[in-house]
């Protein structure tokens, strides 16, 4: 992706989150969201290095990844608002947004859960590759936070990926906290060391700069596509907003004002914005405003699901099971 495209992605995510927070406040989005604000450079840079057929698995803080991988912001907003027109027909919401047609194997509500899923998907794609394919392996990216590196299943996934040189890239968004737990309090040793222990090369990169992230990601992608195996990228970043919108109403006091100000001072929007001529920037900004206005309009006017369909898709085979009452 070129500089303007990267800027566009960062800006889209930022404004998407801001509009979504408004809808949380107005009650149109129920259950709240985990805002991605401040971390946009990572999703933009990583997905900027991916192909359409590549795969991602995401987290509870997943809007940025899903949008950067190409999901339609309009249907994404409708999903957050729980409408049948949403990506998941209103069944998933913020923490489960997915678009399998774009390789988006879903946000995930369980920390650390996406690593093994991504590894398995990449392994399957490699197994399915026809002998004449010359485009290299499909790559899967698993995004996760600093908190996830203490989750057993993710560490087990590192082992599988390391053993079988699976084309998977582990992207750790180190925003300094797992909810209120500082990374130093939760992580013995280092994040990169945890990958290296499984034979997976790891680098740390400035996660506020989309171009840095993209450059490192491109190298990892090339390696993975050509059979070189997995890698881990630790992106140093900062969460500008709440862990979850519930925090807007609760004073948790785990980050000082000074720290917040320092963290927010390196804004990916400014960093990438400075690389784009101001007229192009204004044009992009305007386009995005229009797109998001449409997204919000579409979201709040789309039909809500019919309660009678509550168990649709419970089974892929269409199996119908007993309801909760005697009939």
């Amino acid at each position: 992706m070129d500089s303007a495209e990267l800027y566009r992605t960062v800006r889209l995510i930022r404004r998407f989150e801001e509009r979504a927070i408004e809808l949380v406040r107005s009650g149109e989005i129920v259950g709240g969201i985990h805002p991605y604000i401040g971390q946009e450079a990572i999703a933009a840079g990583v997905c900027g290095a991916l192909r359409r057929d590549d795969i991602i698995t995401s987290t509870h803080r997943g809007h940025g990844h899903v949008l950067a991988k190409g999901a339609d912001p309009v249907r994404m907003m409708a999903e957050l608002a729980g409408r049948v027109t949403g990506l998941n027909k209103g069944r998933g919401g913020s923490m489960h947004a997915a678009d399998f047609s774009l390789g988006i194997f879903g946000a995930n509500g369980i920390v650390g859960a996406g690593g093994a899923i991504a590894a398995g998907a990449a392994w399957a794609r490699r197994a399915q590759r026809t002998a004449d394919a010359e485009t290299g392996d499909v790559v899967a990216v698993n995004f996760f936070g600093d908190g996830a590196v203490s989750q057993g299943v993710l560490l087990e996934a590192f082992n599988l990926a390391g053993l079988w040189k699976i084309p998977v890239i582990f992207v750790c968004e180190n925003n300094g906290y797992a909810t209120t737990m500082p990374v130093e309090a939760g992580v013995a040793g280092s994040i990169t060391g945890r990958a290296e222990a499984f034979g997976i090369p790891a680098t740390t990169v400035d996660g506020q700069d989309p171009e840095c992230v993209q450059a490192v990601s491109e190298a990892a992608v090339i390696r993975a596509r050509s059979g070189g195996g997995p890698s881990l990228i630790e992106c140093m970043t900062y969460r500008f907003d709440a862990h979850h919108t519930f925090e807007h109403k609760a004073r948790l006091n785990y980050r000082s004002e000074d720290e917040l100000a320092a963290g927010r001072s390196r804004d990916p929007l400014d960093i990438q914005g400075a690389r784009v001529p101001s007229d192009a920037r204004s044009r992009i900004d305007a386009e995005i405003e229009e797109l998001l206005a449409e997204a919000v309009r579409f979201a709040v006017t789309s039909p809500k699901p019919d309660p009678a369909d509550a168990l649709d898709h419970l089974y892929a085979t269409g199996l119908r099971v007993r309801t909760g009452v005697n009939n």
């Binding site: 209103g90 069944r91 489960h96 909810t179 992580v187 609760a250 309660p307 509550a310 909760g324």
Partner: protein, 322 residues
């Protein structure tokens, strides 16, 4: 009398037990700042060796608590999400639960697992909305599910003092319940003893957790039609079969309302056990979640797979009629 909310009752019980017994320690995520409200104020009082913030290593810290318990402490674990009980099922059902028998009684594992906000949290979708107390009733881990602030206080105290592992479900739908209470009356409530929440003579409704409040409302609404007894087991396992038996022997009619998935939930267990021992006047009925339910995100759908007031009214009326 002052008002006490369910959540504050948990906080008070935990504080009282920590004051009473030095060996009580609390392990969990974000419990220092008290994100869930259960541990509010306790870090300042008891320090970070007794209110211990945990990294996201639920499996290890669950077995860590087992080890600490076998070494003499009484750990309380706070889990942020009901499905973390799935993640730690091995550590609870296959380790903590089995040590006593497997060692021939050499050791005990007094750990309490608290889930503040079990069941639907309204908009938290498929992976945050489970209500898996029946799973623990199946494997045989003591399981409590109080409906009121006084019982929340009393059962948390008893769970902590109990020498076996106990899972404590605090349903989202009950956390904000507030009752007028004389604080001096707060006391341990024995595990395994239910209560008649409302007396009646025509039909017994067994209601679990937050649905006790639904059942009371239904009983009131239908008071003109029938005299409904509401039985609140409070403990899911071991169940108070004697208490329920007394109620059913009197009324001869049974309806259960239970926020479990239908198949192999405690609702079915209650019906099975009752019909093995009693000849009822009418076939019993259950109001539950559907089989294998996954809560969809959209509010209308989330609500549609949980047991409702209207469903209970219909079930009660049908059983009264047949």
């Amino acid at each position: 009398m002052p008002k006490l909310s369910y959540l504050k009752a948990l906080n008070r019980a935990l504080g009282d037990e920590m004051a009473r017994d030095d060996s009580v320690v609390v392990l969990g995520e974000d419990i220092g700042v008290g994100v869930a409200g259960v541990t509010t104020g306790l870090l300042a009082k008891y320090g970070d060796q007794r209110i211990v913030d945990m990294p996201l290593s639920e499996q290890a810290f669950t077995s860590f608590a087992t080890g600490a318990a076998m070494a003499g402490l009484r750990p309380v674990i706070e889990f942020q999400i009901p499905s973390l009980l799935f993640l730690t099922f091995e550590q609870i059902a296959n380790q903590a639960h089995k040590f006593s028998l497997m060692t021939g009684g050499q050791t005990k594992v007094p750990v309490t697992y608290v889930v503040p906000g079990s069941g639907s949290r309204t908009g938290w979708a498929g992976q945050h909305s489970d209500h898996p107390y029946s799973l623990f009733a199946h494997v045989g881990v003591k399981t409590v599910l109080p409906a009121t602030p006084a019982d929340a206080y009393g059962l948390l105290a008893s769970a902590i003092r109990d020498d076996d592992p106990v899972v404590f479900f605090a349903p989202s739908g009950a956390l904000t319940v507030r009752d007028d209470l004389d604080f001096a009356s707060l006391a341990p409530v024995p595990i395994g003893v239910g209560r008649v929440a409302r007396e009646g003579t025509d039909l017994t409704v067994v209601a679990l957790g937050h649905l006790v409040h639904t059942a009371l409302a239904v009983a009131e609404e239908l008071a003109g039609e029938a005299s409904i007894e509401v039985f609140d087991p409070r403990t899911v396992y071991p169940f108070d079969w004697a208490g329920l038996s007394a109620s059913v022997a009197k009324t001869g009619r049974l309806v259960v309302i239970d926020d479990s998935n239908r198949s192999c939930g405690i609702g079915g267990e209650i019906i099975a056990t009752v019909v093995e021992d009693h000849r009822l006047l009418a076939p019993p009925k259950r109001v539950t979640r559907p089989d294998g339910a996954v809560l969809p995100f959209a509010l209308e759908l989330d609500r549609a797979v949980q047991p409702t007031h209207e469903q209970l009214v219909a079930a009660v009326q049908a059983v009264l009629k047949s």
